[in-house]
Amino acid sequence: MHQRIGIVGVPPLAIIEAITREGDILIDLDEPQVQASLDQSASRIPRVYCAILRTVVLNCMHLALDRVYIDVGPGKCDCALHTAEVLDDMLRVPVIRTRNQDVHAFGYPLCISRIPLLEKFRRITKGVQSVQPYPVLARCEPECGFWGVPPRDFSLLSLFPDTTHIFGWTRCMENKTPANFDLERAFDPNIPTVFFSQSFCAKAALAKHLAAKHPRGIAIDCDVSAGSSTRAKIEAFLELSGLEPGNRGGD
């Protein structure tokens, strides 16, 4: 009988290898997995908190899991460390804290490819569950940059051109080195770049700092879903950078 294993963040590769070797089912708890209202999580975790971790708690309230791995090391955040405590008391299954400090670089071909940005993010987040090397992809010449974590609401990604390169923690994620801070803080000063963070996330400080250093950067944060003002801000930034924003749907 295959087990259902929940993961939060990017657990070490050795753990992913062990889970896949057993043929167990991996469930990414960072992503919405249930239809229930996020407000239900307010009984366990504050409303004014990272929407990703609120989603983790909501998923754990509804899913039948056999085990949870939650990364609480430098490749994730202090909020995950504290949320692990909440999950430990809430769940009747083992909640295993990991500290992923993997250094073997897998590369980040998706981050620099010419694929719709939303699709790049889908593949990168799905890629956490794989231990296989990446297929070769052609690098595209970037027109724009997106720095940050995968947003809770992927719809805002549809505004960006396919030639957008991904930076920040998402690049670390694809590289399977989530604690690589040098890679996380890297950006390309030659392309207009949106420095994204989830509202109430500690990485907002780094996003704001790097946006100020970047000659053509803007810091943007977003909570649960991308409202019209967030979308309009990105749209204006792209337009005023000489780029054509993508579809306006999603409001």
Partner: protein, 219 residues
Amino acid sequence: MLLADFGTSYCKIIETEDGSPARIVATRELDRSFCADLATGHNATRRSRKSINELTALARGGQQLVNRPDFVLLDCGSRDIKFVRFHEGKVVDMGWNAECGASMGFTIELLSAYYQLDYATIPVPATGFSITCGVLGMSHIFDAVISGASETEAVAKFVRGIALNAHRFANEPEELYLSGGLCDNPLFVASFPCRIIPLGRFVLLAGLRATLRGETPFR
């Protein structure tokens, strides 16, 4: 061509071909069937044949009205604030605050109506409340009045706090071009800790005109 800036509280409208001046219509009084050829603002998509982003309209309007390569332009609306910074004739920085800077213009107007105040007669207070948005800032007014301040003093500190917050949001320039209905509020304009050059309420309409001519301040 009928151009419109659909603001939250007021719509600014101009017909480009008959030479008539721009007019201001309260949003709640605008005919439901009104449709512009080109527009900006929160209702622009629904009420026009073609629309452009507000920040884009602001940047294009600023470039039309300010004949300088380097300047900062701040638009204070009923619901949000936004700024663009030009360097060497190109937009190099921008911001749009719709949540934490929310409802500034709207609350300033509401307060004057409720307390029956004339902002032209109120002196600038020495200090302002530390506030980030109109809605949250109103609690400071109530607390100040309970503590013995006059309603006029409390509202003045609120307005000064709003101006200081807007100045910080625009990254504290020494000189600021101001757009929007608050250009007509002497207390608000005088509450900034920098030189203010009011451009009035039709900056975004100027941006729409520039869009018609195909002029862009792209980087």
